[in-house]
Symmetry: C2
Subunit: 205 residues, 2 copies
């Protein structure tokens, strides 16, 4: 069987194939890296026109991460995928509470999702952090409520929850607010690999 | 903010939205569940026509898992997403070696990806197992080589690696062989959540 087996060669070849799909979008070099890694992770060039990055999001996230900011995720798959070796070198950590027993109890009592309960529970710890939501629209809605109603102030929200129930609405709400810089995608698509791709792309800048 | 916060309600509503996209595909009740969970995980109804399940794959995977078969994954994100509580009840475990130091050394020495080295290293342990590949085409190519050349015999291969370099080819090769039942998707799309969705859908049957 003849196929490319060397990881760096695979990534280079992949980014080469993706490049023509970005050429009409007037992206900066840093934006190009984030778009490429997202499209690479989804195997789907149709992400190109739906990715939305607010003007100050990349520099804010890069500066924060390189200064040791922590990352808070909605689900364990996002935590798993983030390159913690690089993050740790800068001084940061990844936190996710969705599987905690305490959170499970709160979620059951309040009839909300566990990832929503987890975000609420983090509360002020979200200040000066990077938030990466790859799965649950409810977690993104809750973060936006914390920003609006409780003056919680993360550095950047990477919000790419997925699905047909609330995902598009929660991401539209994220893109329409102007307090917190953001990275998102329009519509129903998204997911853990998309959140991971965005975070790791910034870690590698 | 008004949005659905209750997990079961979210899933039910999502599957309702997906149903019309499946109605012309003549799916069995079990196939419908797997298709629905994959489309739900991707937020992308365009998966409907590209999912391919060999006739005996679902019953074989269900019987094996319910009898305590183990699952081998290419990447940690797939291991993370699989419902290990349900799997453990049946007696099975999930294994992934991609992050092992030993595997890293082999991969560097042989100039192959770590997930490919990990599959080769599992070798005969893959007999009677379920293999779930969500990320790396090289891992799927290696499993198919093990089946062909070394008579390794997993029960079912869930092969949905993603991307522009080898993914489509490796999945085509999986769909064209007839030794091992399989679940796959055509083309460049795929990813860890797709592999996880297929595994968990079968665990919940």
């Amino acid at each position: 069987m003849d196929f490319i087996k060397q990881p760096q060669e695979i990534e280079n070849k992949s980014f080469e194939i993706i490049a023509p799909h970005l050429k009409n979008l007037n992206l900066s070099a840093e934006e190009t890296k984030i778009y490429s890694r997202i499209i690479h992770a989804a195997g789907d060039v149709e992400y190109a026109p739906i990715i939305k990055i607010s003007p100050d999001a990349i520099s804010a996230a890069k500066n924060a991460l390189q200064s040791g900011a922590n990352i808070f995720t909605d689900v364990e798959m996002v935590r798993t995928g983030i390159n913690k070796k690089v993050l740790k070198k800068f001084g940061g950590e990844v936190f996710c509470k969705v599987a905690d027993d305490e959170i499970k109890k709160i979620a059951e009592r309040e009839k909300i999702t566990r990832s929503m309960a987890a975000m609420r529970n983090f509360g002020e710890k979200l200040n000066k952090s990077i938030i990466a939501i790859g799965n649950a629209p409810t977690a993104l809605f809750e973060v936006l409520r914390l920003v609006e109603e409780e003056n919680i102030s993360p550095v950047v929200i990477i919000g790419v929850p997925v699905g047909f129930v609330g995902a598009a609405d929660s991401k539209l709400k994220l893109a329409e607010q102007n307090k917190i810089p953001f990275i998102t995608v329009e519509g129903t698509k998204g997911g853990s690999p998309i959140a991971v791709a965005a975070v790791n792309a910034i870690l590698y800048l």
